[in-house]
C-alpha cells in the first residue's frame, strides 16, 4: 500500500568513479562509488534537478519506500513527492549517501579496493567540501551541469551552502535549513563527547572492529544519546516526558526510572543496531571542520562573496544546537554581498529536529519557494 503523494517504490543506484579524488585531509581516493536515489524525471533541458543533502545520520533514501521493505520510508518523505513542497512532477530530485557514509557509498564499512578488506579506520577523513566535489562528479555522470536547487538541513544545509561556494555557476537556488556557518565550541564539545564514547569502547579495536566480528555498540549508543539531547528542545522534552516515572514511583536503582531515560536508551540502542561507528566519527569531524570563513580571516561575508545562488535560510525558534542567531549570520553575510536571500524563523517546539517535521508554516514556505523556481 503506497501512501498518497508518495514517490512510491524506489531503487537505489550505484555510480562508480575511477578518477582519483584528492581530499582536503591530504589523502586520495583512487576510485570510489556513491549510492543514490532519484525521484521524478530529468527534463530534456536537464534544468530541473534538485540535490538533497543529508545530515549526520541520513542517507540517500530521502523519499519513497522499498519493494522488499515497505515500512522503510525515506527520511524526508514528507517533503518530497507529487504535490508535496518539493514536487516531483516538476523536479528531478536526487538523494546521495555521502562518501564515508554507511549506507553503501564508499566508506569505512565498504571494501578497500587496494587491500580487499573493509576500510575500517583506514578510510580517509572527508570534509563537506569533499562531499560536494564527489556530488559534482555524480552530477556530471547524470548529465546535470546546473542544479535548479540544492537543499539540506543541519549538516545537509552546510553542504548546500558549500555547493554555492565551490560551484557557484552550477546551482541556481540554495536552501539552508537549521544550519550554521560553522560549529561553536559547544557544538564541537558535544561531538567530542560522542566520539570519546565510541573511541573508548573496548569493542572499538582502533576502528577495525569488523575484523573481530563485533561493533562498539555501547559507545555508539552513548554517542547517539548525547546527540539526541541536543536535537530536542528543553520544552519538547518537558512536554513529551516531563519527570514521568516508568514505575510510577522511585525505585532507587540505575535501571530505567524516568521515561526520558527509557527514551534515550531506546534511541541509542536502535541507532547502534544499524549505524556504523566509524561513519559517526568521520561525520562528526566533517561537521567540526566546516568553516568556510576560516580562510577569509573568519569574515563570513568575504567567504560568501563567491556565492551567486538565490538563498532561502530557515531556522527554528527552539533549535539550540544551531540557533536562529547562527542562521542570521548567514543571512547578513549574503545581504552584505547583495545576494537574493529570504529568511524565516519557524515557531516550532521540536528543537533542531523541527526541520524533519511537516510543520504547516514551514512546509508552506518551502512550497512557495520551490514554486518560484523556474526550470
Amino acid at each position: 500500500m503506497i501512501a498518497p503523494q508518495s514517490v512510491g517504490v524506489v531503487v537505489p543506484q550505484r555510480a562508480e568513479f575511477t578518477t582519483p579524488l584528492a581530499l582536503r585531509s591530504g589523502g586520495t581516493l583512487d576510485n570510489y562509488h556513491l549510492i543514490y536515489e532519484t525521484y521524478g524525471t530529468l527534463n530534456a533541458e536537464r534544468s530541473n534537478a534538485v540535490l538533497v543533502c543529508h545530515a549526520l545520520s541520513g542517507s540517500h533514501h530521502v523519499a519513497g519506500t522499498y519493494a522488499d521493505a515497505p515500512h522503510n520510508v525515506g527520511w524526508w518523505d514528507n517533503l518530497i513527492g507529487p504535490g508535496k513542497p518539493l514536487d516531483t512532477r516538476k523536479f528531478f530530485v536526487i538523494g546521495v549517501n555521502n562518501l564515508g557514509g554507511c549506507y553503501g557509498s564508499s566508506g569505512p564499512n565498504q571494501t578497500n579496493p587496494a587491500t580487499g578488506r573493509l576500510w575500517g579506520a583506514d578510510f580517509p577523513f572527508v570534509t563537506v567540501e569533499d562531499w560536494v566535489e564527489s556530488q559534482a562528479r555524480l552530477a556530471d555522470q547524470l548529465g546535470i551541469r546546473r542544479f535548479a536547487a540544492i537543499v539540506g538541513g543541519s549538516l545537509g544545509g552546510m553542504q548546500a551552502m558549500s555547493w554555492a561556494l565551490q560551484y557557484p555557476d552550477r546551482v541556481g537556488h540554495v536552501a539552508v535549513i537549521a544550519a550554521a556557518p560553522k560549529l561553536t565550541a559547544q557544538n564541537i564539545a558535544f561531538n567530542e563527547v560522542a566520539r570519546q564514547a565510541i573511541l573508548t569502547d573496548p569493542e572499538f579495536h582502533g576502528g577495525h572492529y569488523y575484523a573481530y566480528g563485533v561493533v562498539p555498540a555501547r559507545g555508539l549508543k552513548l554517542a547517539r544519546m548525547v546527540g539526541h539531547i541536543t536535537y530536542l528542545s528543553d520544552d519538547a522534552m518537558a512536554e513529551k516526558f516531563g519527570r514521568s516515572l516508568r514505575h510510577g514511583r522511585n525505585t532507587y536503582s540505575y535501571d530505567v526510572e524516568f521515561e526520558i531515560e527509557s527514551y534515550l536508551r531506546y534511541q541509542g540502542d536502535k541507532f547502534a543496531g544499524f549505524f556504523d561507528a566509524n561513519t559517526y566519527l568521520l561525520t562528526t569531524k566533517a561537521l567540526d571542520y566546516f568553516d568556510p570563513a576560516f580562510e577569509y580571516g573568519g569574515h563570513l561575508p568575504a567567504a560568501l562573496a563567491r556565492a551567486t545562488a538565490d538563498f532561502l535560510v530557515v531556522s527554528f525558534t527552539t533549535d539550540w544546537r544551531f540557533s536562529p542567531e547562527r542562521s542570521r549570520e548567514i543571512v547578513y553575510a549574503l545581504l552584505h554581498n547583495r545576494r537574493n536571500v529570504s529568511y524565516a524563523e519557524i515557531d516550532c517546539p521540536a528543537g533542531h529536529d523541527s526541520f524533519l517535521l511537516d510543520e504547516p508554516r514551514y512546509h508552506k514556505l518551502l512550497s512557495a519557494w520551490f514554486d518560484r523556481i523556474e526550470v
Binding site: 532561502l312 542570521r328 552584505h336 529568511y343 524565516a344 512557495a368 514554486d371 518560484r372
Partner: protein, 196 residues
C-alpha cells in the same frame, strides 16, 4: 493596503533606478515588487508575521524575518539607499529607536503614516468616538496601532532627534494637500535624512 497606493507612488518617485532598498513591515511584498519592476531596485523586505512573510516569498520578494522592535541589529551602517516604512510606524512601540535605526542603515528614510490630526478624526473625537476612517480602518479594540500622532507631532519629533525632513507630501484620501496638512491631510509621506 490597495487603497493607499498613492503613498506607493510618492515613494516610487523618490527611488532612483538600481538602488538598494529596505522595506520595513513589507507585508506581502507588494511595494517591493513594484519597485523591483519599475525601478529595478535590489530590494529586501523585513516582516515578522509568518503569513505575510509567506506572501512575500510567493511574490518573489526577498524577505527577512525580524522583530523591528529589536531594531535592525546585524544590518550594516549606511548599506541601503532608502529604508522605507509604509504605514507601519504607528504600529511600533519603539518609535525613536526604529527611526534612528532606519537612518543608521540607510542614506535616507521614507516614512508614511496616518495623520491622527486629520479633521475627520478630530470631528470624530469631538463627537465622542475614536476615529475610524480609510487611513485608520480599525476599531479601537482591534487596531494594530499603538502610537497615535499627528503631522505636527512627527515634525516635532524629527526636530527633537536631529532628523532632517528633506521632503513631505500630505494627502487627503489620495489627493495632494498643500495647505494646512495637519488639519486637511489623512496621510503624510516623509523623506528623511540625517542632519549635518
Amino acid at each position: 493596503m490597495t487603497a493607499y497606493r498613492y503613498d506607493y507612488e510618492v515613494i516610487t518617485q523618490w527611488i532612483e533606478p538600481g538602488e538598494k532598498v529596505l522595506d520595513l513591515g513589507c507585508g506581502d511584498g507588494e511595494l517591493l515588487r513594484h519597485l523591483m519592476d519599475v525601478r529595478q531596485v535590489q530590494g529586501y523586505g523585513v516582516e515578522n508575521d509568518p503569513d505575510k512573510l509567506l506572501g512575500s516569498v510567493n511574490n518573489g520578494v526577498n524577505v527577512i524575518q525580524m522583530d523591528l522592535e529589536k531594531g535592525l541589529v546585524g544590518l550594516e551602517d549606511g548599506f541601503f539607499d532608502h529604508v522605507i516604512m509604509s504605514l507601519s510606524l504607528q504600529a511600533m512601540h519603539n518609535t525613536q529607536g526604529i527611526l534612528a535605526e532606519m537612518l543608521r542603515v540607510g542614506r535616507e528614510a521614507v516614512v508614511s503614516f496616518p495623520n491622527f490630526g486629520y479633521w475627520r478624526h478630530r470631528q470624530s473625537i469631538l463627537n465622542g468616538r475614536m476615529p475610524v476612517s480609510e487611513s485608520l480602518p480599525h476599531q479601537w479594540f482591534n487596531t494594530p496601532n499603538v502610537r497615535f500622532f499627528t503631522i505636527a507631532d512627527f515634525d516635532a519629533l524629527c526636530e527633537l532627534n536631529g532628523i532632517a525632513v528633506r521632503e513631505r507630501l500630505a494627502f487627503d484620501e489620495g489627493k495632494l494637500v498643500l495647505d494646512e496638512p495637519n488639519f486637511l491631510a489623512s496621510v503624510a509621506v516623509y523623506r528623511l535624512g540625517r542632519n549635518g
